[in-house]
């Protein structure tokens, strides 16, 4: 398999590390249901056939975390996005400095 890193270009699979599903988001640790939410976040996966959004790490390249959209039956990759950009767009800037 080959993955096209948006920064480095088309590279062989062995430069990358697979992490897992990119769908679950780390819950709010202060919420009332935090324990249930974290259990779900850490352990519960549905693994349906078809397109998955997956986290990959360009370990032997630029060290960017990527969100790879991959069909898990055919391995066809339809898009590769920069994880940090998606994450920034997803969460308001409350975690960092005031």
């Amino acid at each position: 398999m080959r993955i096209t890193c948006p920064y480095c270009g088309n590279r062989s699979l062995d430069e990358f590390l697979y992490h897992g599903d990119a769908e679950p988001q780390r819950p709010d640790a202060t919420a009332d249901n935090a324990m249930d939410a974290f259990v779900s976040y850490a352990f519960e996966r549905t693994n349906p056939p078809g397109q998955h959004h997956e986290l990959w790490y360009h370990e032997a390249g630029c060290h960017a975390w990527l969100v790879v959209t991959r069909h898990v039956s055919t391995h066809a990759i339809s898009s590769v996005d920069i994880a940090r950009d998606l994450a920034k767009a997803r969460t308001p800037n409350t975690a960092g400095r005031a």
Partner: protein, 192 residues
């Protein structure tokens, strides 16, 4: 201050210039490397500082800018590797730290990376034995940069000229294994 009494040791102590048919491999001993990582939102300021001091605009894709004295390699998103000659001592690091204070993380890698230079028409053939990268002249040209691995060792590679000449930086602790592999891969060209 008294004179430094410590002897520097090469990362390739047993390596001398190796000449093959259409290929030479040499150690780039006197090289200094300093990484810059711009803090969020400071990328443009870092750009303009480098522009005003060195006259180069930092690349936004995997290429190298600059000349013999100092060049800047793309080294990841909002990261660069400044590469200079060692004769300046720690000047490069200190200059960058001074000018980029509060704008970027400046970290010296001059000792952490060991650099070999491959040059000649056979360079691509040798590298193909471990470097999984397309170095065809239409694809990878002079001043192109790649971060990848070769023979299971992380490398930062850049093309110097069309000879072709490549500089390859590997982590210092791997230098011995890397040159083992490279000399093994090149051996066939000593016979021809």
């Amino acid at each position: 201050m008294v004179e430094n009494i410590l002897q520097a040791r090469s990362a390739f102590p047993e390596f001398s210039l190796s000449r093959y048919h259409q290929l030479t491999i040499a150690v780039r001993e006197h090289i200094t490397m300093v990484s810059l990582a711009a803090w969020d939102g400071q990328s443009e300021k870092v750009q303009s500082v480098i522009q005003s001091i060195y006259g180069h605009s930092l690349p936004q894709r995997p290429v190298r800018v600059g000349g013999m004295e100092v060049s800047f390699l793309w080294f990841g998103p909002d990261r660069w590797m400044a590469v200079g000659e060692r004769d300046g001592g720690r000047d490069l690091e200190e200059n960058l730290k001074r000018h980029l204070h509060g704008l970027a993380a400046v970290v010296d890698h001059s000792d952490g990376r060991a650099v070999l230079r491959l040059s000649g028409a056979r360079a691509r053939d040798v590298l193909a034995k471990g470097l999984p990268l397309d170095l065809h002249p239409r694809v990878f040209k002079a001043n192109d940069v790649a971060i990848t691995h070769a023979s299971h060792i992380g490398v930062l590679l850049w093309q110097v000229d069309d000879a072709p000449t490549y500089d390859i930086a590997v982590p210092r602790s791997y230098a011995h294994s890397f040159s083992d592999w490279l000399l093994d891969a090149a051996e066939v060209f000593s016979a021809i």
